[in-house]
Every structure is written in C-alpha cells, then in structure tokens.
Symmetry: C2
Subunit: 548 residues, 2 copies
C-alpha cells in the first residue's frame, strides 16, 4: 500500500460528525459539526463514517443520501445516538420512553419488559433504516447502580446487572432483526460514576471481582448475543490501568475486551472531543493511543486531519504495525456486510417509489407502540381527576432548555453575546413568569426583584403578528424604560421588528443611551446589532456544549 | 361534462392546506391541516392546489414531491405565504427583513430600495422553486397608512401608495424572473383597518375617491405589470357593498376588479376558514358566494367536501352558469402554463442529481443578500459599544411565542389541557424569570407573588442530561412542595423523566394529593397524564389559532 492508499485506508476508520440539516447555516453546533465543504472533502478522501445529530427525520433521509453520494459509492457507516428511538433526536420519527422505564417495569413484570425491549429495538431499527442509517449507537450496557450518576441515569436499562443485561440483549435482538448494527456502551461500564465524562475524567475504583459481578455482565451477554460493536468509555479504572482512561488503555481494550471477553467485532471510541480526553492529549496523539490500545474506529476526532496525519505517521514509523490497520479494516468490512443491500431500501418500498412518495418515517403501529410504552410505565397516585380552578390557578412548569422559537434558540446571538459580557439572559414571554408588578404599578411597572441586580440591556422582539397583535401594545414598556432610566440602570435598548414601536420608544432615550433597531428578528439581525452594541462584530466564540 | 367530470373540474379550483411535515403526528395545527389520508384522497379526486405551512425547507421539498405524486401527474398549484422569503416559514431557507424595512429605506434612498426589492423577489422565487413551490402568495399590496393596523403592519411595502406600489412591483419583477406565480393582496386593500380579519370582520369606511387615491393604486400597478393572481380581502367596504365582504361581493370582484381594473388573471379568496367569513356563512355557501362574486380559486375552504358539493349543486341548478366554471379553469391553465417545465427542476440541476444530492436550499449569495438587507435597514443611535457588566447585569428579552422545546410547544398537552381547566401556564426554565426568592428562603423558597393566585398544578420535567445534570438537583423542589402543601395550594404533582426524583418527591405527599409520573416527556406522555389527572382522556379540543 503506498502512502496515498494508506491515507485513504486510515480515513475509513474515522467517524466524523455532521448535522442532519442540509445547510451550513442551520447547524446548531457549528463548532462540532463539519461544514458541507469539509464534509464533502473528507468523504471524497475516504472518511468511512458519519455520526448525525440535528434535523428532522425527513432531513435525515435527505442528508444520508447526500452523504452517500459524496462518498462516491463507497459504503459508509451512518450512525446516530438514538438510544430512545429515532424520534429522540430527529423530529417526526418515534420517541420512546427511556430505557430505565423498562428496567423499572422489569421488577414487576419481567416477561412483559423483555417483550417490550425487543420491540423497542425493532422499532428503532426499522425507522433508522428508513432514514438511511445503518448503525444505532445503542444499547447502553451501563448498570445504573449509582442514583447520582449524572450522565447515564435513565439511559440505562436497569440498576442491577440482571435487568440491565437481559433488557439490553432483548433490545439488541430487535435491532438485529431490523437489520442495523448495534453498539454496546460504554465499556467497561459507566454506571457507577458520579461524574460526566463530557466535562471531566471519571474514576471507577472497583476491584476486578466487583467489575465481573456488576459492570461487565451486560457486556458479556451482548457479546455472546453477537453485538457488532462496543464503544469505549472515557473513564479511568485504576485496577485495570492506573493512568489511562479505557479508551486509551491497551489493558482494557486489547486484553480485557478482545482477549478475556473474546470480542471480535468493532471497537469504537466514545467521542474524542469530550473533555475527559482532550484534557489529556492532543487530537493526533489521542487517535494513535486509542488505536494502539485496540480501538478500530475513531469517533469524532477533535481534528480529523490531525488524526489521520498522526495515524499515518505512526504506521510509517512502525509504532502501529500495518497488520493492525488491515485487521480493523476487515472488521469494518465484516460489519458492513451484515447490512449491505439494505442501505438503499426503505422497508418494502423500491428506491424509486421511496424517492417519489416518501411518507412519514413513523408508521401507525409504531406510534401505537410508543403510546403502549407510555401507558405501561406511567404511575399515578391519589385521587383524580383534580378540581378545575374556576377562579384561576397556575400550572408551574419546570423544564430545561424550554427555548427556542426558531430565531431565539439558546445559542441565539441576542442571548449568548450579552451573556459573555456579563448580562445574564432573562426571557419574558406570555408563558413565563411575568416581569410586571401585579397589581400594576403605573410608574414602576417592572418588578425589579425578579430580574436581579445590575444594568439592564433591554431587547424587545416586537412585531404585529396575526392573533397576537394586541398583546404587545398592552405591556407598559415606555413606563418601564423611564423606570430604568430614573435608576440609571438602562444599559441599552434594542428593538427588533415593528418600526412604530421603535420610533416611539427611542424617543424616550437621552442621547447617552445606546439603542439599535432592525426590522428583522432573525439570527443575522441579532448578530449585527449585538456586534454594534457590544463591539465584537468579528468574534464568534462558540460555546462548549455540543449536544443536548 | 357529466357529474363526475364536473366534480373533478370543480375540485381543481380548491386550494387546501397541508403541513410541510411528512407525518400526521408532526402537524402543529391538526385542526387546520389535512391528514395524509384526506390529502391523498382529495388529490386523487382532482383537488388542484395546496397551500403549505410548517416544516423545514428540506421537508417542504420532500412534501411537494409526495403531493405531486398523489395528484397522479396532474399539474398542481403549490403555494405558501412566504412574504419574507421562504425562510420565514421553512427553516433552512432564507428569511429576509420584512417589506416595511424597504419601505422605510425608500424614503432616503429610493433607487437602492427598488433594487433590493427586486432582488428580494428573485431570491424568494429561486428558493421557492428549489423547494417545489410554483406560487408565492406575495406581494402584499396593502398600504399601511394606519400604524395601528394589527394584521398588516410590517408586511406592507410602505405607508404611502407610491412607495408601496413601486416596491411591490419591483418585488413582482424579481418573482417573475425567478419563474413562479405571484399574488397581489389583499384586494381592495387592508392597510387602513384596525382589526384583524382572522378574528373579526373589518370595515373600511372610505369613499371611492379615497380608494382610488390610496388603496387601489398598488393593485393597478401590479395588474399593469402582469401579476398572475390577486387575493381578495375579508373586509367590508360599504361604499362598494353594504353587506358582503370583498371576498363574497360581486361588485368588488366582478365589477371593480375584473371590469374597472381590467384584471384577467386568477382571483383567489383569502382563507375561507377565517372568522370574518365563518362568522357569516357556512362552508358550502361561502364557496358558492365567492365563486359567484368572481373568485376563481377557493383557498382553505372550511370543509373541502362541502365546498365541492355546494359548487356542484350550484352548477346543477344553474345558480352558477357552466361557462363560469370553464373560464376559471382556463385562467388556472393559463397561469400554470407560465411555470410548467420548471416544477420538476431545481435550479440548474437535473432531477436525478437533485434527488441524489440536494444541498442546502440557500446559496451563499442568498445568505449574503439577507445580511445585506439587515445591514441596509438597521438603525443605531447613542454611544457604542456599551460597557460590559463585570458585576453582573441582565438582558431582559421580551418575545412572543418563545416556546418551544420539541416536546413543549405552546400547543403541548402539558400546557393546553390545564389551561382549559383554569390553570394558567407558567414555564420556568433557566433563561426565564426564576420562581425562587433571591436570596433564598429555605422554608418558603417560591416567590409566590410571581405566580399569582390559586391552586398550583406542578409539572416537573426532570431528567439527567449531559451538561445539565447538576442543575435539577439544585432547585429546592422538596421545600417548595412543602410550602405549597402548608398553604393548601398544591393541586397535583406531575413528574416526567427521572424516577429517582419521582420517588423522593411523591413521598412528600399525603394520599389526598394527586400525583403522576411518566418516564417519558413526549407529547403522548403528557396526554396520558393530563388525561388521567384532568379526567378528559378522550377530549382533544384544538385551539383556534391556526398560524403564527
């Protein structure tokens, strides 16, 4: 194999990340998701796998076709973290109750839980194939023995190895019957950690005996059942390796997983962009160490080119023997063999029909299955129904990440850029806690205790929409602005949308108060105004969160 | 023409509404959007047009292909209200500043505004075609002479007829160059109303002279420029018709628009589901009256089957002469002729390539154009940049409809069902006003003045997500529950997600307090729990809002 062929072969072992959206501008996490130009270049040069996140099920279908066309006929591994059904990540497909729900059911009705777990795998597989995926990164085989586990939690199939193993295996059966590859994760078991490997490096201080009794058992079951891939966890298990996390440890991967557990399928790393790894080594060295340790596939290298360069160098220098490369390539081919022929077919529909008449990714039966799972796992106590609240009451709803209207996602410039300057964002809208005194105080309408201390950068998205037009005239923004001015707390005023409101509100401001207006509310308008007001037009720092 | 042929011919004149999403479950407005089964039936039976709303640009592409396949080769009119670019409605395409922005620019730089308006039309047309649409329901020709106009407002191209007419005409030029049909609306002019025809019937009490000087001038320009369709407004103009809104008035449509203004193209009604019409007549009679008045196309009949039945009856009885039907069919054919041949092509790409490798609907040039528009229309005053807030400050952001996380859209069961029982929804999340006292009060953590009066139905969406896991352990929900219990204000507790939190929180409740849990957070889980708690499992009242 010459250098160019070797580079291409090495590239096959990478799995890079892409958004499911067609356009670069639609990416939710542009720091982590390759642009179309980069993606196309990588795929043309031989990169062999893509992990997808973001977009609807329909977009995913289209995206997979696009990616396969860019790979020029080479078989691609197309995967996603759809542990709870394709609908967990891709709207329009079916989102199922999390695995732990079946783990809880298993205590009361093990037979039913097992049947449901197998159907769960089948449903996920069928929809994954319809969307063009051939690899599902599930089941989680971690035993959630630690209720404080922040990262696994309800993603696990159980809190004890029997339940977790049995249900994960049933899920895998369903997945296999549906014709996609599965993935047992996160080896050797992330269930008893109290830290999140996205953020730091967890340590698992158990004996080898304890690992055999708890953590390893579901993995042994899945390997015996023929799971096609195992994903490494970024965690340190001192009894196995004092220094290196499992992902980079020859003792964990080559010895324990390959030899002791006799796993001959694909070993894939967890994402190498995670803090637990990037805190230790650079992108190139991480890929080489993982490969040396026994990994076949490198998932989400922090930098794809650096990873390929480093692997090629390691092969050239002999640090990695060339037969290791060939072994990994063969395992990859073997895995693809198991789903070749299905990639271009949707269930029971010819390619042409599929192209012309693709209906919903979700069948009625699958929707009913989702309902059946909810029904089987819900719990109710006390009397019902409850009394209505004829004189009015409130339903107080707590949720993470409630936002986003399409132009006001959590990563929107109007939110993120001021936040980086110390202005904590508070969104007020008709379904949130009101910023106004009730009963109203005419001269001081804002209930300032609800906002906290400090200067206020006021941003008003105001336009006359059908059905809502009257609403924005009701709020006493002029009086609020005067209130803030009297207290010397108005940092700036920004209006998006209605020019009439802009004209009337800016007239209230002395010349010393910055103010800006755009008729548009979209991201670009926010960027431009935030850039002007905050003075960093060319800086686009991207946040550290890369999934949600 | 026999009865069956006539029914099919009449069906051609309908334009029904569909979601851009592939699946029925994804519909945001199921009360207004036909199901796939109904859509397919209608299209197979000859319905000749679909108006689309909802979904991303990629979904729209796919949806248009599906709809065309269901119509079995018959040419369809596929349209959308994309007055501000396809991205206004379909994420992933380009969303442009609203037309009024160019109206304001026109006062200072008319030449530039005209050039931009034409490019605006071209950009919209190009993207519409890429998505499979052949008809853009724009430009708005209403002159927004009334700043209190709640429904037109920034959708108009100007506040005076010269600006509005010139810019709308420039837009239409761009649209035509891009190969899609346009639509001048809302005849004879909705600019000087203070009411929203979605909600009630506006009245325009002007003389005929005044109408000629203001309202009608942009329409005359657009007709002279060859606009292919005109949409009627649901408003009463007593000087033209004492009783009937324009949509149903022979004097407005047959006399004023056809004869006086010499318009020979397609007359399409505004949506017949709007309150201004449904408050007057039933679905069948509305369609017949509109057709009698001079309309060719019936947009969003309140009931398609009733509309077709009524029209067929009216033709059979002679109430509508049969040549009227043939005239409308001919106008429809003429319009389609202007864009036939483009329907199955994306710009410069063969169908096969398009199918295999559809990239973003938005080109880089179009994205730059959107930026150029923002830049040309933003306004800044006062000093900038502003000071950072090193000791902390707040950016208070006011917005309509900030919600929705995918499972907590404004129409979510967790929000809507309690609201119908008197429990007003308050969402608290990390970007909203906090419900907690600050500094914290250990025994009474909730700042109850922020929630208002009445019983509290508490719904906690709690699960351990990566990056956020610590957050839900910080909030003092146990103390809050005890606080509410002491005040006898806890109506019920609902937990979605984490079983550990469920176990610990429900243990705080006496048996007299209803509580429920589902491991899932999705719509189906909300439906089931709300049904159990509120006692209306089988009732699914749908809201009145049908767009946003």
């Amino acid at each position: 194999m010459n250098a160019a062929e070797q580079r291409r072969a090495v590239s096959k072992l990478l799995v890079v990340r892409a958004s499911g959206h067609a356009g670069d501008q639609q990416r939710r996490y542009p720091r982590w998701e390759l642009s179309n130009e980069e993606l196309q270049r990588h795929l043309e040069n031989g990169v062999g796998g893509v992990i997808l996140l973001g977009g609807t099920a329909t977009e995913l279908q289209q995206r997979c076709r696009t990616l396969r066309s860019w790979s020029g006929g080479e078989n691609l591994l197309l995967c996603a973290d759809v542990e709870e059904g394709v609908g967990q990540r891709f709207e329009g497909a079916t989102w199922l109750v999390p695995p732990m729900a079946l783990g809880r059911l298993q205590a009361n009705d093990p037979a039913k839980a097992m049947l449901l777990a197998e159907r769960y795998g089948r449903c996920t597989a069928d929809q994954a194939r319809r969307c063009g995926l051939n690899w599902v990164l599930a089941p989680v085989c971690d035993v959630n023995s630690n209720p404080d586990n922040p990262v696994i939690n309800v993603r696990a199939w159980g809190q004890v190895p029997e339940a977790a193993g049995a249900l994960a295996e049933a899920f895998q059966r369903g997945l296999q019957a549906g014709g996609v590859l599965g993935c047992a994760k996160h080896f050797p078991g992330h269930g008893d950690t109290a830290q999140d490997s996205h953020l730091e490096l967890p340590v698992l201080r158990h004996s080898r005996e304890r690992l055999e009794q708890i953590e390893l058992r579901p993995f042994r079951r899945l390997i015996a059942a023929g799971v096609e891939s195992v994903m490494t966890g970024h965690l340190v298990i001192p009894v196995l390796d004092q220094e290196r996390p499992a992902t980079l440890s020859p003792n964990v991967l080559n010895n324990l997983l390959r030899k002791s557990l006799d796993f001959q399928g694909l070993i894939v790393t967890d994402a190498l962009v995670m803090e637990a790894i990037t805190g230790l080594v650079g992108p190139g060295e991480a890929a080489v160490q993982a490969f040396e340790a026994g990994a076949d596939l490198i998932l989400m290298p922090a930098d794809a080119d650096e990873a390929i360069d480093a692997l090629c160098s390691a092969l050239a220098s002999g640090r990695i023997p060339s037969q290791r490369l060939e072994q990994s390539l063969q395992r990859r081919r073997d895995a693809l063999q198991r789903c070749i022929g299905d990639q271009n077919r949707t269930e029971g529909i010819s390619t042409q029909d599929a192209v012309e008449t693709i209906n919903s990714v979700e069948t009625n039966d699958e929707h009913r299955f989702a309902l059946e799972l909810v029904s089987a796992t819900l719990e109710v106590q006390g009397p019902s129904p409850i009394q209505a609240a004829p004189n009015g009451g409130v339903t107080l709803i707590r949720v993470d990440g409630a936002l986003a209207s399409p132009f006001l996602r959590p990563e929107a410039p109007a939110i993120g850029w001021p936040a980086r300057r110390g202005f904590r964002p508070i969104i007020c809208h008709e379904l949130g806690i009101s910023p106004w005194h009730d009963p109203p105080q005419e001269d001081d309408p804002l209930a300032l205790d609800r906002l906290g201390e400090g200067p206020v950068l006021l941003q008003l998205f105001l336009r006359g929409n059908p059905f809502r037009a009257g609403r924005d005239r009701d709020d006493p923004w002029p009086a609020a602005i005067r209130q803030l001015l009297r207290l010397n707390r108005l940092a700036a005023l920004v209006v998006y949308g209605c020019p009439y409101r802009w004209e009337s509100l800016r007239a209230l401001l002395p010349g010393t108060i910055p103010a800006a207006y755009s008729p548009g509310q979209m991201t670009e308008a926010q960027q431009m105004l935030m850039g002007r007001l905050l003075g960093d037009e060319h800086t686009l720092e991207l946040g550290n969160e890369f999934t949600d």
